[in-house]
Amino acid sequence: MKVLIPGALRSYTESSEAEAAGATLGEVLVDLDRRYTGIRFRMVDEQDRIRRHIRIFVNGGQVRELSQPLAITDEVVIVQALSGG
């Protein structure tokens, strides 16, 4: 499925879009990391929690759990929630 990548993570993908596969959001991020090594840990911590300033939307709705099931036609959008200066 298509995954939209925020600017802060394009040093990994060198593109605003990436392809990744998986039946859940967690699987998609693991597959993304297989293709772009290191990208997952910047978004998800070692306890499998989505990091504080990362937001992930699926078909326009925010998803907070990696166990969220996904369909092959879903669009995943990763956003960095900037704060501070």
Binding site: A8, G38, D45, E46, H53, I54, G84
Partner: protein, 391 residues
């Protein structure tokens, strides 16, 4: 202390042949390398590297003279370590940055917010590095910083977890594990400091640890026998005498001479109006009687700025019996600086060059062991760490 024998202080050693210097500056918004000539008169600025990344520490491996590690994160992305083997022309991310072990099902595990401190290990252990993190954890790499493994003896030990407290117990941007020190005579003899949590020692490569707190004071009203209440800011071992360590603590300046297990508060001889509170501690590379500190205001609500707005370095040449003010070239008034614990260092030349970076983005240096100071860079982001290396 278990097992270590004392060795007498060595005579002053001659410095190695002078080489070109690089000053490694880590800031809240990226990293800069300042390449100096052997005389330390002119500087070529290389940077920014990782513009926008929070760089807590930037260290060159003295064993190979070419591997640079940078502890990095951004405000919105997780932490990582970048490495370069060509002085920063190319960087590659660690394949497995420092990360705590996954907690068992149903338990709340910790996650590394940032790697705070990097220490190359013993000269006979090439490619081995140690890292300290926030929240506090100790990590080791055996492949030059590509992959990192946690020390369960600290990170998962319930006693140490209690002593290091929670995120709420630490410094404003998170409790720090810092001052990871390797004895040049013995790779298994290690020290580290925890803010808060005290100073700890291992003589078996980190399998077991012992608090080293005696003589260290704590804030009035708290129990000095409890490691939790101790806040060492920066601990340094003297390269010329590894049995001697100095410490800048939240509650004063200390020296310890092993095998004694008791710290002595040598900051008592600092001028009363200045006090002996600060963050950094710098030791002379060849003279174990000489160290430098940069005091800050630790009164009332703890401004942590230069006392009276008049920044000064203080040096002792007699192991803390007396201190001399060194402020020639520094602003005489209205300079409300803060210099963080990693942001002051020395080089190995003769006379020793000293360097410190301020939270207001100025980099200052002295070519003559602190007698006179000059600003060699300004308008940088908030400076977190300054290191030097001969190349």
């Amino acid at each position: 202390m278990a097992g270590r024998k004392s060795s007498p202080a060595r005579p002053k050693q001659r410095p190695r042949a002078q080489r070109k210097l690089v000053v490694l500056v880590a800031t809240r918004k990226g990293a800069w390398l300042l390449h100096g000539d052997a005389a330390r008169n002119s500087w070529r600025v290389d940077g920014p590297h990782f513009l926008g990344h929070i760089i807590s520490h930037l260290v060159l491996d003295p064993r190979d003279g070419r591997t640079l590690l940078a502890a990095a994160k951004t405000g919105h992305l997780g932490p990582t370590v970048f490495r370069s083997t060509d002085m920063g022309r190319n960087w590659k991310e660690a394949a497995r940055p420092p990360a705590f072990a996954k907690a068992p099902q149903g338990e709340k595990g910790r996650s590394v917010d940032h790697t705070f401190w990097l220490t190359p290990a013993h000269a006979n252990e090439p490619n081995v590095w140690y890292a300290g993190t926030s929240p506090q954890g100790l990590f080791r790499s055996e492949d030059g910083g590509v992959t990192w493994s946690p020390f369960s003896s600290i990170n998962d030990d319930m006693k140490y977890r209690e002593w290091m407290g929670t995120v709420q117990d630490g410094t404003p941007d998170g409790p720090k594990m810092h001052s990871i020190i390797v004895d040049p005579r013995d790779p298994k003899h290690l020290y580290f400091g925890m803010s808060g949590g005290g100073v700890h020692e291992s003589v078996d490569g980190g399998n077991t640890w012992t608090p080293l707190l005696k003589g260290m004071e704590v804030v009035e009203g708290f129990d000095a026998s409890t490691p939790t209440f101790h806040d060492p800011h920066c601990v340094r071992m003297c390269p010329s005498n590894p049995d001697r360590l100095y410490q800048q603590n939240h509650c004063g300046i200390y020296r310890i001479d092993r095998p004694s297990t008791e710290w002595v508060r040598v900051g008592r001889s600092m001028p009363k109006r200045v006090g002996d509170v600060g963050f950094p501690m710098v030791v002379h590379p060849r003279d174990d009687n000489t160290v430098w500190v940069l005091p800050m205001n630790g009164t009332t609500v703890w401004p942590r700025t230069s006392p009276e707005g008049k920044p000064a370095v203080y040096a002792t040449r007699n192991a803390g019996k007396t201190w001399q003010r060194q402020d020639a070239g520094l602003p005489a008034s209205q300079a409300w600086w803060t210099v963080k614990r990693q942001a002051m260092t020395g080089d190995a030349q003769d006379p020793v060059g000293l360097y410190f970076g301020t939270t207001s983005g100025e980099l200052w240096m002295s070519r003559d062991e602190g007698r006179k100071w000059s600003c060699i860079a300004r308008n940088l982001p908030e400076i977190y760490a300054v290191e030097t290396a001969g190349i």
